[in-house]
């Protein structure tokens, strides 16, 4: 009896394993193959509109190489959805929403095509994006992503709140840490705002891109948080940024709690760190914008910030890779980049953006500052352990800067030591 049960159970296990093994195969495409392909783009309204017109324009000219465009499937984050698609072998050819922080992992998983291996791959990227492109290379200098668009972050301030607080809304004096702190105190005391600024105080790894990193990039003239496998921020510049934010939190000028809505849009915070997407979102707010502050204040045209870029991933599951590369170039052409600007207000990752689209920026002055700022941006460090590094940083930042449970300088030193260790991992 026991033997019979064992045999039956074994048969069921084999059957189940066979069923679970029925996933689709992965790579097998070649840069010489042409034919229909599928692409994914972001699900926000403006990018969907841009994606649809781009696909339509391509399909009109290439009936034999039809592109099917669709919004990226819903999930906790785009990166998880893409990671699952890579593992399952059903990723589309191109995804117009690939976060640079995830590229290293996708490359390690064998999910991304090495663009540098294409005959005109690296040349095309560098011609289009200039010096900005180098930060999107991996440690070997190869491209596993096509730099596409950035959302350089600046400070938005509510002119009405500033005016109510007795501050000059057209010259708000926010360029130095001291000025920023003084203005923050005034808008909370007299302007009626709950907080001066309210970046998300939550623990997600990417939140450091919207509090520490922009100010650190500005203070250091464009230094990445990790360079040559070593954390850079355990220095006076990093400490200065940490102390600045620590003061904001300790003095009740920045919110320690997660706000469930949009603190700036709801008038709860007088300032926000935002990208060009904010221009259309805050249509009903009387806002002004300035570059992120530095210790002593530096001219706007010398200020660096975080890029908040999203790039194009070219996935190895793609069969017709020749068509995919042609579509990638078509969608990053001058014509399509101009349409991206017009439709979404996000900055194509191009060298000399202001000179390339002078008519657009003349007609849309609200975006000109972002266009200028787009030339001076930094992104997250490359490699398969980027998220691990950023999470290590965020954990120390939360403990020390946001909640005051640890000395800021010590926390940054500890974060740097952890990141140095993580950077050594394969």
């Amino acid at each position: 009896m026991k033997k019979r049960r064992a045999v039956a159970a074994a048969a069921l296990i084999v059957g189940a394993l066979a069923l679970t093994a029925c996933s689709r195969g992965g790579s097998g495409g070649s840069p010489d193959d042409h034919g229909p392909i599928t692409i994914w783009y972001s699900n926000n309204e403006q990018e969907v509109a841009w994606g649809k017109q781009m696909v339509e324009a391509w399909n009109a000219e290439h009936p034999d190489e039809k592109v099917t465009g669709q919004e990226i499937p819903a999930g906790r984050s785009s990166e998880e959805v893409i990671g699952a698609a890579i593992t399952a072998g059903n990723a589309p050819c191109l995804i117009y929403n690939t976060a640079p922080s995830a590229v290293g992992q996708f490359e390690k998983a064998g999910g991304l095509v090495d663009i540098s291996s294409l005959p005109d791959g690296a040349e095309y990227i560098e011609d289009r994006s200039g010096e900005l492109s180098t930060q999107y290379q991996n440690a070997d200098g190869d491209y596993f992503q096509i730099p596409w668009k950035s959302n350089p972050v600046v400070i938005f301030y509510n002119k009405d709140i500033f005016e109510k607080a007795g501050l000059d809304p057209d010259d708000p004096q926010l360029s130095t840490y001291a000025d920023f702190l003084a203005a923050s105190k005034t808008v909370v005391e007299k302007g009626g705002a709950d907080y001066a600024i309210w970046p998300a105080p939550t623990s997600e790894f990417f939140q450091m891109q919207f509090d520490f990193y922009p100010l650190y990039a500005a203070q250091t003239g464009g230094k990445l948080v990790v360079e040559d496998g070593k954390a850079t921020f355990d220095d006076s510049a990093g400490d200065g940024v940490g102390e600045f934010w620590s003061t904001l939190y300790a003095d009740g000028l920045a919110g320690q709690e997660k706000y469930t809505g949009d603190a700036f849009g709801d008038g709860k915070a007088a300032m926000a760190i935002v990208g060009p997407w904010a221009v259309s979102v805050y249509d009903g707010v009387n806002w002004g914008s300035v570059p992120v502050p530095t210790h002593d204040g530096i001219p706007a045209d010398e200020t660096y910030t975080f890029s908040d870029a999203k790039n194009i991933g070219f996935y190895t599951a793609c069969v017709n890779q020749g068509t995919a590369w042609d579509v990638a170039k078509f969608s990053t052409s001058l014509e399509q980049d101009e349409k991206l600007l017009e439709t979404t207000g996000q900055m194509p990752l191009r060298a000399d953006l202001l000179d390339t689209f002078p008519d657009y920026f003349a007609a849309n002055p609200a975006y000109a500052e972002f266009g200028d700022q787009a030339a001076r941006t930094v992104d997250v460090p490359a490699g398969p352990n980027t998220v691990q590094m950023l999470q290590a940083f965020r954990d120390e930042w939360s403990q020390s800067v946001i909640f005051g449970g640890k000395d800021v300088t010590q926390a940054l030193a500890d974060a740097a030591a952890k990141i140095d260790d993580i950077a050594k991992q394969p």
Binding site: K108, G110, S203, E204, T316
Partner: protein, 306 residues
């Protein structure tokens, strides 16, 4: 002379030896067996395998070296203070959530079982939070427990500072209260079903012997629903150990400063966000073992001889 000829044993077919006397039974149970193997057994065995190897997710057909690394992933996981803390956090959660769930659901079920008016309305009212998406309910609790939320307004100077969800002492208990409230409807239903199985004669006998309502509750109701209590203990412990959504949404990713991070949240961060599924699997295996130990102890001490 007569010769007795014994009937020769009937030949047993090979198929029958394998499939037994009732092959249809095997057929009927096969879908569930396949489900259990595919959805529980295979992933569990695979995750144990992953936890002993240098493993990362790859595209199909991509050649990756996945050497056996012994206990390295376990050491990596448990040398991380955040992981240790997450197990402590979920311990605090279970210590609050499980007893509270058992006591409240039994009391409320007993009450609901006795009342005549609004019985259906109240049963539905308790069940609604259970069937409502966590994301929607979390938003309400955020409004309630924020610094300027309703709870702090009512409490006035007695409100904790910092407020509940960013207070390292109160964040986890607040999550435990939230989960208790949200899941209560399900456990009340379990107890209501169990209460129907207690013979009315027992209450009548107790009453005849002079027992009041409280004495009847402890001498008749509590022993009468013991199997349901064991089930509630087990289910609330297992679901509690798998805590994820609440620290992810209510306290912004396990905040403040990791005070409400749960092992499953850490597994999510390491396995899916940080590309370390091997370390995440090691945490998962330890969590499964600990939950099994707790469940066995509960069964041993609360289950009695049954």
């Amino acid at each position: 002379m007569t010769t007795l000829i014994e009937n020769p044993p009937r030949p047993v077919g090979r198929a029958r030896r394998i499939l037994g006397r009732n092959p249809l039974g095997l057929l009927f149970s096969a879908p569930y067996l396949i489900f259990v193997i595919a959805v529980f057994a295979y992933p569990l065995i695979y995750s144990i395998w992953i936890s002993f190897h240098d493993f990362f997710f790859t595209a199909p057909g991509f050649e990756a070296d996945r050497p056996f690394v012994g206990l390295t992933n376990y050491l990596t996981a448990f040398q991380d203070p955040a992981v240790i803390r997450s197990f402590g956090n979920v311990g605090i959660f279970l210590l609050i959530n499980v007893p509270l769930t058992v006591v409240l659901s039994l009391l409320l079920a007993s009450g609901l079982n006795r009342i005549v008016h609004f019985r259906t309305f109240l049963r539905v009212a308790y069940y609604v939070p259970y069937v409502t998406a966590s994301v929607a309910v979390v938003a309400i609790w955020l409004f309630l427990f924020n610094g300027d939320g309703l709870v702090n307004t009512v409490l006035g100077p007695l409100a904790p500072d910092p407020s509940w969800l960013i207070n390292s002492t109160w964040a986890m208990p607040t999550i435990a209260f939230f989960v208790t409230w949200k899941q209560l409807g399900f456990y009340i239903l379990l107890y209501l079903a169990a209460l129907q199985g207690i013979p009315k004669e027992l209450y009548e006998s107790a009453s005849t012997d002079g027992a009041g309502p409280i004495r009847s509750f402890f001498s008749v109701t509590v022993p009468g629903v013991r199997p349901a209590t064991v089930l509630v203990l087990l289910v609330s412990t297992v679901t509690g150990a798998n805590l994820f959504t609440e620290p992810y949404l209510l306290t912004g990713g396990g905040g403040p400063d990791g005070a409400s991070a749960s092992p499953v949240l850490i597994m999510y961060q390491k396995g899916l966000q940080q590309g370390q599924p091997d370390v995440a699997a090691a945490i998962g295996v330890v969590l499964v073992v600990l939950v099994l130990v707790v469940a066995l102890l509960q069964n041993r001490f609360a289950g009695g001889r049954d």
